[in-house]
Amino acid sequence: MVPTSYYILLSAALFTIGVLGVLIRRNAIVVFMAVELMLNAANLALVAYARERLSIDGQVLVFFVITVAAAEVAVGLALLVAIFRTKRTTDVDEVSTLRG
């Protein structure tokens, strides 16, 4: 059996990579991908803990997270398309008129 902490370490690493993706990447689509990665990392942790505690609630939670992720991605991509239509770019840095 694999110790839970291994899963958690992996999940932490994936989460961090996701965070870095948001911080570093400029392509809004990739940013969204990174966010998805973060959520997936959280899911992994949830499932691992569920396994450790033998509590299936953790898995149910993952179900909800996935749904929410899907909804967010849908709205986010729709927004991206909308912006692209005006601005012709998906570079988040280009969308920075509001400031100060």
């Binding site: 370490l9 690493a13 870095l20 299936i56 898995q59 149910v60 179900f63 398309v81 840095d93």
Partner: protein, 177 residues
């Protein structure tokens, strides 16, 4: 045996994630992410969650990633990061923060470290989709309903956010735009 499988899968997941991070092409990123998702799905299976394994593959690796790819293709946004980074100073800071974040996460995980998982005490029904379904309709009935609302507004949102009917000419941009 499990450990080896875990290590391999974990490696794949990590590689996929890192590759997604560094790929300059959004399509590549998407594909690497797909790889990562698949690896995670395998891990789910390792953790006795067959239902989530399936969901992960269908919803994430399937639906969501397709959506991503579709949008990338639609917008032709494979390579938007050719221009110089205007806030390049942020990159080292970001990496430093990532290391810090990872550090505290590892610290949290290790300090807790029960070490060995409850050995094989898992009931046969653990992770049974039926069990999951029962929970969804009993204890988690409310969240389940709420997800319905979320999906509904997501649909409405997508419609509202793309009002082709609105003419751009009808609008003057506000001053300062």
């Amino acid at each position: 045996m499990d450990l080896i499988l875990f290590l391999i899968t974990a490696a794949v997941a990590l590689i996929g994630a890192i590759a997604m991070l560094v790929s300059r092409n959004a399509v590549h990123s998407a594909l690497f992410l797909l790889l990562n998702f698949a690896a995670i799905a395998v891990l789910f299976l390792l953790l006795q969650s067959p239902f989530l394994f399936a969901i992960q593959l269908t919803v994430y690796a399937g639906a969501i990633m397709v959506l991503f790819l579709f949008v990338v293709m639609l917008l032709g946004a494979e390579q938007v990061e050719d221009t110089p980074d205007r806030i390049a100073w942020q990159r080292p800071l970001a990496v430093a923060l990532g290391v810090g974040l990872l550090g505290v996460a590892v610290l949290a995980a290790l300090r807790y470290a029960p070490g060995i998982p409850p050995g094989g005490a898992a009931a046969a029904t653990f992770g049974d989709p039926a069990e999951l379904g029962r929970l969804l309709f009993t204890r988690y009935l409310l969240p389940f309903q709420v997800t319905g609302i979320i999906l509904l507004i997501a649909v409405v949102g997508v419609v509202v956010l793309n009002q082709y009917g609105r003419s751009k000419a009808a609008l003057k941009p506000p001053p300062g735009d």
